[in-house]
């Protein structure tokens, strides 16, 4: 298990993705899966960066673990910001035409569809989002 702490700021996105991609490469993750998992992490991280700390800045902790037997990646994103369950949002209607499509809600939807499992809990003042994917 490796973990790293980043400021909850979109300026840190490149570092966040660099960290994740390095760990995934070590796990021999296929390139396409690296991209998809990176997109999922970006969506979650950017949400936290935008909304978790309305009065200023804070940190985001990202944990990475890889089960070699199951070939399953586990990612956990935690922050001490305002309690917020990103999974509570209704899915966007993806059948609408360009004119009717709304802008919001796509990020977490992509995360849910990309990863095998996504779960949320609020514990000891922390928002904790855990996601797994078999690679």
């Amino acid at each position: 298990m490796t973990e790293k702490i980043f400021p909850a700021d979109t300026d840190a996105l490149e570092d966040v993705l660099g960290f994740i991609e390095t760990e995934l490469e070590k796990a021999d993750c296929p390139v396409k899966n690296i991209t998809m998992i990176s997109v999922a992490i970006e969506e979650v991280f950017v949400n936290v960066a935008h909304y978790a700390y309305p009065d200023g800045t804070g940190d985001v902790k990202i944990e990475f673990d890889f089960d070699e037997n199951e070939r399953t990646v586990m990612l956990r994103i935690s922050d001490k910001g305002i309690p917020f369950d990103p999974l509570n949002k209704p899915d966007p209607d993806i059948t609408l035409s360009a004119q009717q499509r709304q802008i919001g809600g796509l990020g977490i939807f992509i995360t849910k569809k990309t990863m095998d499992n996504v779960s949320y809990r609020y514990e000891n003042g922390e928002n904790i989002l855990t996601m797994t994917k078999k690679i």
Partner: protein, 98 residues
Amino acid sequence: MNINVEKNNESVTLKLEGRMDTTTAPMLEKEINALPEDTKDLILDMNALEYVSSAGLRVLLAAQKKMNELGTMKLIGVCDAVMEVFEMTGFADILVIE
């Protein structure tokens, strides 16, 4: 992300290179907003684009809506990972992808 702009009469080709994420998507937005008013056809060459997140989808949606009024827009050279994001979000049906 790098964007190469090629103008051919009323047709503009934007060649995207690298990754379109939260921090780089505004670059495409800027190019779309700067398109000459007589632009009839917009081609997004994605052969060298390896990544798109929802920030990129937002800009592509705005571009599609704009070009629906002015003429046409199409995407070429879309890689597997980007195509998967388009398909899971229904964008494969909204965008013209060759």
